[in-house]
Amino acid sequence: MNQQSAVTLILLLPLFAAFSILVLKRFVGDFVCKTISVASAFICFVTSCILLGAEPVTGTILTFIDVPGLSADIGFILDQQSAGMMFIVTFIGLLVHVYSLGYMSEDESQSRFFGSLSMFMFSMTGIVLADNLLMMFVFWELVGLSSYLLIGHWFEKPSAAEAAKKAFLTNRIGDFGFMIGILTLFAASNGEISFAALKESLSAGSTSGPLHDAPAWVMTLAALGLFMGAVGKSAQVPLHVWLPDAMEGPTPVSALIHAATMVAAGVYMLVRVSFILVESELAMQIIAGIGGFTALFAALMAVQQNDIKRILAYSTLSQLGYMVMAVGLGAGEAGMFHLYTHAFFKALLFLGAGAVIYACHHEQDIWKMGGLRKQTPATFLTFAIGTLALMGLPGMSGFFSKEEILGAAHHECSWLFWSSAFTALLTSFYMTRCVVVAFFGKARTEHASHAHEAPMIMVAPLLLLSIFAIFSGYGFFSGRLQAMVPHADHGEGHTFVMAVSIAAVVIGAGLGFFLYNGKDKDPLNIKLFANKFYIDEIYAFIVKVFQDGLAWLVTGLESIFVDGLVARLPAAIACRVGKTARAMQSGQLQGYTFALGLGLLLAIYLVSQVLPRH
């Protein structure tokens, strides 16, 4: 099997699975649909393992658009970045498929769920393989669709239906910018959309390529436009509001899409186009600033959440902020490294949270749990490993990748470094809070005291992911995924960075433990954090005023002016003329005679004026 057909297989097999489930699910049972979906995920995983470490190659699968002035292919680029990402996507995808066999076993619409999962695998694969901007946009949108379908899986639930819509629309706002970015680059580069060609036209060797000649504002517009797409997909401030609500979807979906892979697509895309971003200093500063701010802002909100999935969701926002900041600081490899390690431990945490929720009969409030350490030891063990990796305990995977990012921040910008360090402290604090409240102490509710371990089909993926959460930071592992192996190359600053980061972990965890151990309700009560800085309320207000209010106003004006001036006014004039004309035809002889006389007089007068006088 050559690489071209292997890549085509990875891309098209999930599509085939999704489509056949859509068509077949009326006729065959859930079992067949589940088998199709899981089998396709498995084959994709095996194939992407084979491709890992293969020679870089590009190719074309299909011509999508081909008209004079624009040709766009569905192609692929297989290099270290895409092969590594493909491994993550298919590996976690496969585990989530398997886990879902257990988690969704009671669900009434399993076939639809697995069909949507396959659809997601197809779209995500497309983003990873994309060799040009338009193809990336195509799959970017399709990933949004799969996310919409999966968040809204339980569509009868109004909150799920709303969350699905919110996710899609928020992403659409980001895509508005993404499209502007693509169009700008296309215009500035004389019609190039493939990464290779754009890179070529910017490369150091050529000094007169079209992109070199583009004015600075054009490059800034392009860079910021592309970044706006990432802001939507990777849920950065100010478009972060959809991700916490997306937790309305089934938990395996949260793990796969809203933690490990899809939300990381924004970062993946930024790294792909980083050679364009660096052309604009302003854009880089904005990217780093937004990333750093999101990391801190989301961590603050996470401190006061009580829903176990929402804690993890805010933590995801915060970690994505780290990655975006790394890109903005010019350390895209560090961002990708963190993306990889984060994918493992965050998927682990979400699947662990799913096992907890499963164990407590769909209870998600950590204050209604407690003491789960004894009832569900395997879940506790794996969740704890995930927590330690996320906190960045030395030796765990998260430590290495976070270290890289902190190092880059220290190198470039001191206030971003300190805010990132503080974010690290907050991270250890809220994760310790979560673990202590949910797993330690006594069971606070009936459900928690009768909690039972999840079935093996769910626990096995947890165990497997734990191994990766621990070891994926080491060079022998991550080196296979990407060119950059973690290195200690920040000079004398490195020891300092490491000391600060370890101190942050210890202080945060210590504070969390002492503050929450043995408590039955939250000793802290920070309304601002718990209410997420009231951003949702502010946005609801803005939508109400600027969209619905404006729509109301415009509709009113339209019916007054357009309908009034273009239609009613001429109609009224016609009516008036008609009425006058009708009044003349009254049927009364006197009236006619009078008018006849008047007309005769007028005619005589006019004739007398016109005729030449003698």
Binding site: V67, P68, F137, L145, E156, P158, G191
Partner: protein
């Protein structure tokens, strides 16, 4: 006799046969199917390079002929017509024969307008298609009799006025471009003259503007649009499908086929450009917001159809090959997706009795098939890749934004940016509608069930076209021949 003439005659003949008392359902479905088959033959012949043009002289001076001819543009729209006609007559159940007759007449008129190459017949066939549209709204429309008659009057006056302006513009074209051998209505002859002896730029601009208003009114160009939404809401389902999907495209077809080649400088004149950009942004943003404000499915779809015309006008305004290819692709895609939406809307109205969002909900639980079909219509109309509209929109955007960007943001760039925001707006109203109709708790008192058996076919046909063209837009664009200047 050319195959093109046969394509025009089949629906008209079928309408006459039904009028003579033959079984309506059988004849109309048979004719629509036959027409599609013949058209596919025509497409294959066109691909093989066969010249299908044919002409029958009717008058010598002025010279008028019943002339037909096919280029990629006409064939694309003819294909659209045949597909929508098939779906439209197939989904008619338990309705009087007049529904079939009207559908066939509208489609026959549209095919005549798209395939003729003589201005006299292009104009005449379009008028022929309009009459049954207006009558069907007045006689068989939805809502109470006074209301639908008022709406029928409104659309009659609007389209009548638009046609009148158009007539004046076309007459001016004939007078100006007839050449030395007496007046002619032959489009090809007019084009020859336009090439050899073009008009002064100023005259071209004025003439183009007149045609823009005339054709534009027929396409619901802002601010001459307010007939459209109420008309589609009131129209019987097959009429709404055929008019919004097919016949409305006539105005756009005329601009691309007649106005642009005859008056190339007119379209480029700065004041015409700016007027057009303002109007199309009106379509996209103003009507987009109006669409958000609608609280019923039928008026929402009607307004959305007005809004989407803005994108096609943007392609015409940009005028580059990419943009024109995109505009035509979008005409096709919009035709299919709006026909699908109105077909679904009709099914829902029949069963539910109301289309108000606030009274409905949770339809997905009982009607999974309709839910999936509506999802295709929704996501196609908001430009999801993989469905037909996306490629057209992208090509229009690329074509419009690509115009000399380095020199700074010009009005057309701003219009493109606003049009991009329009994509967000259409996602807002379509997803709101989808959510409130299909998701959430089932509303009490309104039941719906999936269509069964062959009633699924018209919906599946349109969906399949959306998917196929969405994945392979080259199937359509390869027919077209907009060359780089």
């Amino acid at each position: 006799m050319s195959l093109l003439e046969i394509i025009i005659l089949i629906p008209l003949l079928a309408a006459a046969l039904i009028g003579a008392g033959l079984p309506a359902k059988l004849i109309s479905r048979g004719a629509a199917l036959l027409n599609l088959v013949v058209l596919l033959v025509v497409l294959s012949q066109h691909a093989a390079g066969v010249n299908l043009a044919h002409s029958v002289r009717i008058l010598d001076n002025p010279s008028i002929s019943f002339a037909v001819g096919a280029d990629g543009l006409s064939l694309t729209l003819a294909l659209l017509t045949c597909l929508v006609l098939l779906a439209a007559v197939w989904q008619i159940i338990d309705k009087p024969a007049i529904y079939h007759v009207a559908s066939l007449l509208i489609a026959g008129g549209a095919l005549g307008a798209f395939l003729s190459t003589d201005l006299f017949f292009i104009y005449g066939f379009h008028e022929l298609a309009l009459i049954p549209t207006l009558l069907m709204i007045a006689v068989h429309g939805h809502g109470d009799a006074t209301n639908r008659r008022a709406i029928a009057w409104k659309i009659t006056v609007y389209l009548g006025a638009g046609s009148l302006v158009l007539l004046a513009g076309l007459a001016a074209l004939v007078l100006n471009f007839s050449g030395s051998n007496g007046l002619t209505f032959d489009l090809n002859a007019l084009m020859e003259t336009a090439k050899t002896a073009p008009l002064a730029a100023d005259t071209q601009a004025w003439l183009f503007f007149v045609l823009l208003v005339g054709f534009g009114t027929l396409v619901s160009l802002f601010p001459f649009h307010s007939w459209a939404a109420p008309a589609y809401a009131a129209a019987p389902t097959p009429v709404a499908m055929l008019h919004s999907g097919v016949l409305k495209k006539f105005g756009l077809y005329g601009l691309i086929k007649i106005a642009l080649p005859l008056l190339p400088l007119g379209a480029k004149a700065e004041w015409v450009q700016q007027a057009l950009l303002i109007m199309l942004v009106g379509n996209i943003i103003v009507i987009g917001l109006v669409t958000i404000h609608q609280n019923r499915l039928d008026t929402m779809l009607g307004n959305s159809s007005v809004m989407h015309m803005g994108y096609i006008f943007l392609g015409i305004a940009a005028g580059s090959p990419v943009a024109l290819n995109g505009a035509v692709l979008l005409m096709f895609a919009h035709g299919i997706s709006i026909a699908l939406a109105f077909a679904l809307c009709g099914k829902m109205r029949n069963q539910l009795g109301t289309l108000e969002f606030s009274k409905l909900g949770g339809l997905a639980a009982n009607a999974p098939f309709l839910t999936v079909m509506f999802a295709f219509a929704t996501f196609s109309s908001i430009g999801l890749p993989g469905l037909a509209n996306f490629a057209g929109e992208v090509m229009v955007f690329v074509g419009a934004f690509n115009l000399n960007l380095n020199a700074g943001l010009k009005p057309i760039h701003w219009a493109t940016i606003l049009a991009l925001w329009g994509v967000v707006i259409s996602a807002v109203y379509m997803l709101r509608a989808y959510r409130s109709l299909f998701f959430g708790k089932a509303a009490e008192g309104h039941f719906i069930s999936d269509p069964v058996g062959s009633q699924r076919l018209p919906l599946l046909l349109l969906t399949a076209v959306l998917l196929v063209v969405g994945c392979r837009p080259t199937l359509i664009t390869d027919l077209l021949t907009f060359a780089a200047k």
